[in-house]
């Protein structure tokens, strides 16, 4: 690590490594368009992969390729339209909406953005839309083939959505964060096809690599959102992808006015807040006790922590804002696993006047970024583990949204759950990953990484 010069807030070696990987991937992507070829870029959380997609669009346009960009959800499509339009003022960005959807104003009023029906988007140089909409337009014949297809959040997109757009182009670039929540379905037996090539619930990247094993995979070794303290813990979610933080240690700072609380609950919260300011992490572990999913004790503590954080006048400093500035409520989020936890916390925080603080399940937090996260551990208070709660992607989303600090609440029994002998789990021919065991190992390594930041009552 080169010594940090006074002006340098970014680690030059890390930036350079990321830049070279990104450029090589983009060059590889736009170099040949004769045969069917794919390029995969996997990256950790907050690596700026959408920026890579935007650059790739620019590079493809310079090759005079007509480009289509697809994402699983509308919100992701909206932010892509804005980013591409701003970074490439010379290009016209065409958004193809589903029937009842329209661009929000922050994107629609940009001069080089247009929103049209699929049938009249055929001449456009850059077409953006959700995977379902683009696929539907393509299969009805409204939208013709293009030269290159980019899929963002391609670990969140499942094989059936990728199937819809696969035929749009011979050149594909799939960019995604492998740590995120894997595709799931509400049907009674989602594992019916697991292990078979036709499994519609495997990830888009999974189906491409399974059918074309020679597809190059580029690994972006950088995270811009997480600082080095956060990256150390987040590494557990990416066993085969080494990465480091772009910002130098110490650049990200969170400061709270000193406070003394007279009663034990307040003191525990203050210890957690102070630990989070100093180390970027705090893991508050309540004693083992039988509890509902919507555990009232944890609701009190999380709401109390958000309230206390606001009371102590939080200020932040970072690579973009070098002077101390106030931390607004909208930059704070509470991450949970279940809707009843979200509903109760939402109403409690509203009643305390924190209606600007975001409360969401991990599923809805994917792709978002905040300064401070207060997270409810998925295993908190569980009497028995199961695949839903052991899913590494859920914990990864909760612990990789923050730029400054993350405070995690759980119970002592959470770790004990993992010490017990793992129950036997079903197996599928042709499918080697073992989500139950892998989830268990990831959870264990995260608990170990958080060991120095653990607080008990």
């Amino acid at each position: 690590m080169t010594p940090q010069d006074s002006s340098g807030v970014y680690d030059p070696a890390v930036m350079e490594a990321a830049r070279s990987v990104a450029n090589t991937a983009i060059q590889d992507f736009v170099s040949r368009s004769d045969s069917n070829r794919g390029v995969v870029v996997t990256a950790p959380a907050g690596s700026g992969k959408t920026g890579l997609v935007v650059n790739a669009v620019g590079a493809a346009r310079r090759q005079k390729f007509r480009v289509a960009v697809g994402t699983p959800t509308n919100e992701q499509a909206f932010s892509l339209v804005r980013r591409i339009a701003v970074d490439h003022p010379g290009e016209t960005v065409t958004f193809v909406p589903a029937s009842d959807i329209s661009l929000p104003t922050y994107a629609s009023q940009l001069s080089n953005v247009q929103q049209v029906k699929a049938s009249n988007a055929n001449g456009a140089g850059v077409i953006v839309g959700t995977l379902s909409k683009l696929g539907d337009a393509f299969s009805r014949g409204d939208l013709g083939e293009v030269d290159a297809l980019l899929v963002d959040e391609s670990f969140q997109a499942d094989s059936s959505r990728y199937y819809a757009v696969g035929g749009l182009a011979r050149l594909h670039m799939l960019v995604g964060d492998s740590g995120q929540l894997s595709p799931f379905s509400t049907i009674d037996d989602p594992d019916h096809w697991r292990g078979l090539p036709e499994d519609p619930l495997q990830t888009a990247v999974g189906v491409l690599l399974r059918n074309h094993p020679t597809t190059p995979v580029y690994k972006l070794p950088i995270t811009r959102r997480l600082d080095s303290r956060a990256a150390v813990v987040a590494q557990a979610f990416y066993p085969d992808l080494r990465f480091s933080a772009a910002v130098m240690p110490g650049v990200r700072q969170l400061r709270l006015s000193p406070a003394i609380s007279n009663e034990p609950r307040g003191r525990l919260i203050d210890r957690a807040l102070d630990g989070a300011c100093k180390n970027g992490w705090a893991h508050v572990e309540l004693p083992t006790a039988p509890s509902l999913t919507a555990d009232p004790e944890i609701i009190d503590l999380i709401a109390g922590t958000v309230d206390r954080l606001a009371q102590r006048g939080p200020k932040t400093r970072c690579e973009s804002k070098t002077t101390w500035s106030d931390l607004p409520g909208a930059r704070v989020a509470v991450g949970v696993s279940h809707n009843d936890q979200k509903d109760l916390l939402r109403s409690r925080l509203d009643s305390m006047g924190h209606s600007d603080v975001v409360v969401e399940t991990a599923n809805k937090l994917q792709g978002l970024e905040f300064d401070v996260i207060v997270a409810w551990h998925p295993l908190a208070g569980l009497p028995e583990v199961d695949e839903f709660h052991l899913e590494a992607g859920r914990l990864c989303v909760l612990l990789t949204r923050h730029r400054h600090a993350c405070i995690l609440f759980g119970r002592a029994s959470d770790r004990a759950l993992l010490d017990a002998i793992p129950p036997t789990s079903p197996a599928y021919l042709g499918f080697n990953p073992d989500p139950v065991y892998e989830g268990r190992e990831t959870h264990e390594s995260v608990f170990v990484a958080l060991e120095p930041h653990r607080l008990t009552r």
């Binding site: 007279n262 009663e263 034990p264 609950r265 003191r267 004693p287 006790a289 039988p290 009552r457």
Partner: protein, 273 residues
């Protein structure tokens, strides 16, 4: 191999009659006790006990004959004293004396606990806790006094309560009594619609609890609840804060066993030891 469905038997009928006559005798005993004629009450109670013993004998004969009902064994002769104690103490929700627990169990469930046997029960709890580590979900543990956290002899609590509710502070005696009163008042209101017998017994129990703050017989549980709640508003807060701090102090230097069973008395170390 196809089992024929069992025949309903007359003996079960006999057991039911014996139990209901025993319940009547107990009620009369309670009324006698209220009118101050204690030994008549105890005589009636002995007769009731006799009926119950005969009912148990009939019941065990019935069970031994039919092989399908789970056979009569040590943990099945009706809910054990331990189970009733845990249920009663759980509902009271505050450290209580064996007598208070027995009275509550009788008022609420109509089951008898010989409260004199409870101290021996506690020794068994310690032994089973220490033998193969905690195999029972909950233990009956002594309340702890607030300074040196020594076990309080006449107050029992449950091991799955947080430390804050098992430690006794200067106001705790009164606040716990008020909390128990509120709980019993609520029970009376609810039981009236569900189990009039238990409601009547709980009403007389409530009278004993309120003898200090109100003495008329025809108590209105709702008023009792409001009065107790009002007083609790005043002294509840300082008691809670004191117990929280005591708990924080205790967690500082007591080990896991001491947090449950209390700190030992400091042994006087003689010169030679």
């Amino acid at each position: 191999m196809r089992r024929s469905p069992r025949k309903p038997n007359a003996a079960a009928e006999e057991v039911a009659q014996l139990l209901s006559r025993a319940a009547d005798l107990s009620r009369q005993a309670a009324d006698e006790a209220h009118r101050g004629r204690v030994n008549e009450a105890l005589k009636l109670e002995r007769d009731a006990e006799e009926l119950r013993k005969r009912a148990r004998k009939v019941a065990s004969r019935v069970e031994a004959a039919t092989d399908d009902v789970v056979s009569q064994t040590s943990s099945e002769r009706g809910p054990s004293a331990r189970a009733s104690t845990i249920a009663a103490l759980g509902e009271l929700g505050v450290p209580s004396s064996p007598r208070a627990i027995a009275e509550y169990a009788w008022a609420r469930y109509g089951t008898r606990i010989d409260h004199r046997a409870l101290p021996s029960l506690r020794r068994d709890e310690v032994r089973s806790w220490s033998s193969t580590k905690s195999i029972r979900p909950v233990y009956i543990v002594p309340a702890l006094e607030g300074n040196r956290f020594l076990p309080v002899r006449a107050k029992l609590t449950l091991s799955d309560w947080p430390f804050e509710r098992r430690v006794i502070g200067p106001w705790s005696e009164r606040t716990d009594h008020l909390r128990a009163t509120i709980q019993i008042a609520k029970q009376v209101i609810w039981l009236r619609g569900v189990d009039p017998e238990a409601a009547k017994r709980s009403q007389s129990l409530l009278a004993m609890y309120t003898s200090s703050s109100q003495n008329d017989k025809a108590l209105d549980p709702a008023k009792v609840e409001q009065a107790a709640a009002a007083e609790l508003d005043v002294i509840g807060e300082p008691d809670r804060r004191w117990r929280d701090q005591a708990a924080e102090r205790a967690r500082g230097f007591l080990n896991e066993e001491q947090l449950l069973w209390g700190a030992e008395l400091p042994r006087i170390v003689t010169a030679r030891a």
